[in-house]
């Protein structure tokens, strides 16, 4: 009996094994199906999240451009965090004042790269460079070149590389531009415009020997209107005659208005920004000094009737930011103001100094002497750049920013190829990868880069830790 039971032992094993095997196979199949579906949904959701994060990156970079930043936000070496993902945006300047922004968004396993093109060009009168409504005369040995005050160089003009064509300066007129040869007393000199010289639609560029224009001399398609100066209405505090030698007068920030302001020889008047200063007439005597310090904010100086910076006077703009200092005058009447029997023109810049500012006199002729070196832009009814004088056009004035009242304009959107970056190639969750690498991505608003500052490019730590 015991042997019979032993003989039947294991007879249920086969069907039991079969049933278990079937159940295991089915379970594995369902599990695999479920995992596949889940992975597909996760990938799809991650890609959509990455798409919207990349779009958020474009918006952040656009806001940066509006605020005068470079448009670079984060970088492949240290992206910016946004929600559950990261992004970085690179900005590339194109011809015609356009900027291409490329945003790479990463979320989970999703990666998307988008690009927009924006027109980042200001159409202000300052963006025209050295502009004369009726004529521009560039006399012998004068030089008009350009720099970029956003580059962090403090407005230092770089020594030009002879192998690189120098461009970027702008000279313009609604009529003719005349570029004179250097006088015989300056045999080695050249008269130089390192950039474009655009006369009016019916005007022309007249060039004498030993002159250089590196850019276009094609006429402008349209007349450039000189906008009217709108002088703010501020209650006048009367006349200001300042003559104390050892004690500079500092005007309060904010809005101030005076009748006539005269700074006598040896005296100094300091204007700190932010400031809006309206005067009927402004006279700076020889050896007197006017300081326009825009470190704390923009300075707008409006002169209604008469502007005279005498020879030997000093005009100083310590902040080296032309976009933040403007001198605008409606002066237009030539009269004998000092009763010496000689007629005085309404606007005279005879001072000494490196002036980082925008000078605007739409109703008067302006002459720039050699001792008065302008870093920024000048626009006048007639403009003369005297022998040996220099105007350094600030290319930052061509860029649309809130400060000059314009904003970049959207021009095109597209999907672009993903960049070849470790974070993109490795399909890990970028936040986890960065955390393991000991990196903490900054929030988007803190990840903007100024112009001239390069974002980090490499992310080797990720590769090492994985």
């Amino acid at each position: 009996m015991r042997n019979a039971r032993a003989g039947s032992r294991g007879s249920a094993l086969l069907p039991a094994l079969m049933i278990v095997t079937v159940l295991v196979v089915l379970s594995m199949g369902w599990l695999q199906l479920s995992l596949t579906k889940n992975r597909e949904h996760t990938n799809s959701a991650d890609t959509k999240r990455a798409f919207y994060i990349a779009e958020a990156g474009l918006s952040e970079a656009f806001a940066g451009l509006v605020a005068g930043r470079s448009g670079n936000v984060g970088g492949p070496g240290l992206p910016a965090q946004f929600g559950n993902g990261v992004f970085w945006v690179t900005a590339e300047e194109e011809d015609g004042g356009k900027v291409t922004l490329r945003s790479t968004g990463l979320a989970g396993s999703g990666r998307v790269a988008l690009s927009i093109v924006v027109e980042n060009m200001a159409e202000t009168i300052a963006s025209k460079g050295a502009f004369g409504n009726q004529r521009v005369d560039v006399l012998g040995g004068a030089r008009i070149d350009s720099f970029d005050s956003r580059g962090g160089g403090g407005g230092v003009i770089q020594i030009p590389d002879p192998d690189v064509p120098q461009v970027g300066a702008r000279v313009g007129s609604n009529k003719d531009i005349i570029v004179r040869a250097p006088p015989p007393t300056m045999p080695l000199a050249h008269t130089e415009i390192f950039g474009d010289a655009h006369p009016g639609p019916n005007g022309m560029v007249l060039r004498e020997p030993n002159t250089t224009i590196t850019g276009s001399t094609a006429p402008s398609p349209d007349l450039v209107p000189l906008p009217e100066i709108v002088v703010p209405e501020i209650a006048s505090s009367g006349n200001l005659d300042y003559r104390l030698l050892l004690s500079p007068l500092t005007l309060p920030t904010g809005s101030n208005a005076f009748g006539s302001v005269r700074v006598h020889s040896g005296a100094t008047v300091v204007v700190h920004g932010p400031s809006t200063l309206v005067v009927d007439s402004l006279q700076i005597d020889p050896s007197a000094q006017l300081v326009l310090d825009s470190t704390g904010g923009a300075i707008q100086l409006f002169v209604r009737d008469y502007l005279y910076l005498a020879a030997g006077s000093v005009l100083t703009t310590p902040a080296h930011e032309p976009a933040r200092v403007s001198i605008q005058t409606n002066a237009s009447v030539t009269a004998d103001r000092d009763k010496d029997g000689i007629l005085d023109p309404p606007v005279r810049f005879l001072a000494t100094g490196n002036v980082y500012a925008v000078l605007y006199a739409p109703l008067a002729s302006v002459s720039i002497p050699p001792a008065f070196e302008v870093f920024g832009a000048v626009a006048a009814q007639k403009l003369t750049v005297q022998q040996g004088a220099k105007i350094h056009f600030d290319r930052a004035l061509t860029v649309a920013t809130l400060e000059n009242g314009t904003i970049p304009r959207f021009a095109g959107w597209r999907i672009v190829d993903l960049p070849d970056s470790p974070l993109v190639v490795l399909r890990y969750d970028p936040l986890v990868a960065l955390r393991i690498s000991g990196m903490n991505p900054p929030p988007a608003p803190l990840a903007h880069y100024d112009i001239g500052v390069a974002p980090p490019l490499t992310l080797t730590n990720v590769l090492r830790h994985y």
Partner: protein, 202 residues
């Protein structure tokens, strides 16, 4: 070694009845196993088919959406506003900037093609010598799910007689509707419909 004589019990076999009962029980068990296996396999196949059809429909509409999202709204033509719709859309997309000017693509088209109108095809420079075309799906239905060709909005989605792939405009947005029908197990068909609203970025 001398072998011990076998005992009677060890030589005892199964009776016929025992064998028949055993075979019957084994048949029942195997039958059940077969049924379970068959149903499981069928269910697995059906679920896999559903999943594949859904993934195919989603991928197709994502492709269409990603193509249209970069379109310039001003370049879109052959698309209508509700209650009308079209099964074809023509547009151009931005390719970037060259020498200071924005560059636009050749005209692109997404349309239902084939005699049966069941293929979603993307065209570039359609009808020109440099035409390019890519088929994105071969499983589109003649009409959107729940719709019949009777001039009435049968499925109450605001459109009349919309095709299996349809486009209708709403301001700067394009609404894409897609119905996919793929053969499933046992001759049944799997129908999946998706719709997406895309705002043209250019």
């Amino acid at each position: 070694m001398i072998r011990a004589p076998r005992s009677k019990t060890s030589r005892a076999g199964f009776s016929l009845i025992e064998v028949l009962i055993a075979i019957g029980l084994m048949g029942l068990v195997l039958g059940n196993v077969y049924m379970v296996l068959g149903k499981g396999t069928k269910s697995y196949s059906a679920e896999t088919g559903e999943s594949l059809a859904d993934a195919h429909a989603r991928r197709t509409i994502d492709r269409v959406a990603m193509a249209i999202v970069g379109a310039s709204r001003s370049t879109i033509y052959d698309a209508m506003e509700a209650p009308f719709s079209g099964s074809e859309i023509n547009f151009q997309t931005c390719l970037g900037v060259d020498a200071g000017a924005i560059v636009w693509s050749e005209p692109q088209r997404i349309a239902l093609t084939n005699d049966n109108g069941r293929q979603v095809t993307w065209f570039e420079a359609a009808g020109l010598a440099n035409e390019r075309r890519v088929a994105w799906s071969n499983w589109v239905t003649q009409l959107f799910k729940g719709e019949m060709a009777n001039g009435v909005d049968d499925n109450a989605n605001g459109l009349k007689d919309e095709k299996g792939l349809s486009f209708d405009l709403d301001g700067d947005s394009v609404i894409i509707r897609l119905t996919i029908e793929k053969p499933g197990v046992d001759g049944t068909s799997i129908v999946k419909e998706h719709q997406a609203r895309v705002t043209c970025r250019n």
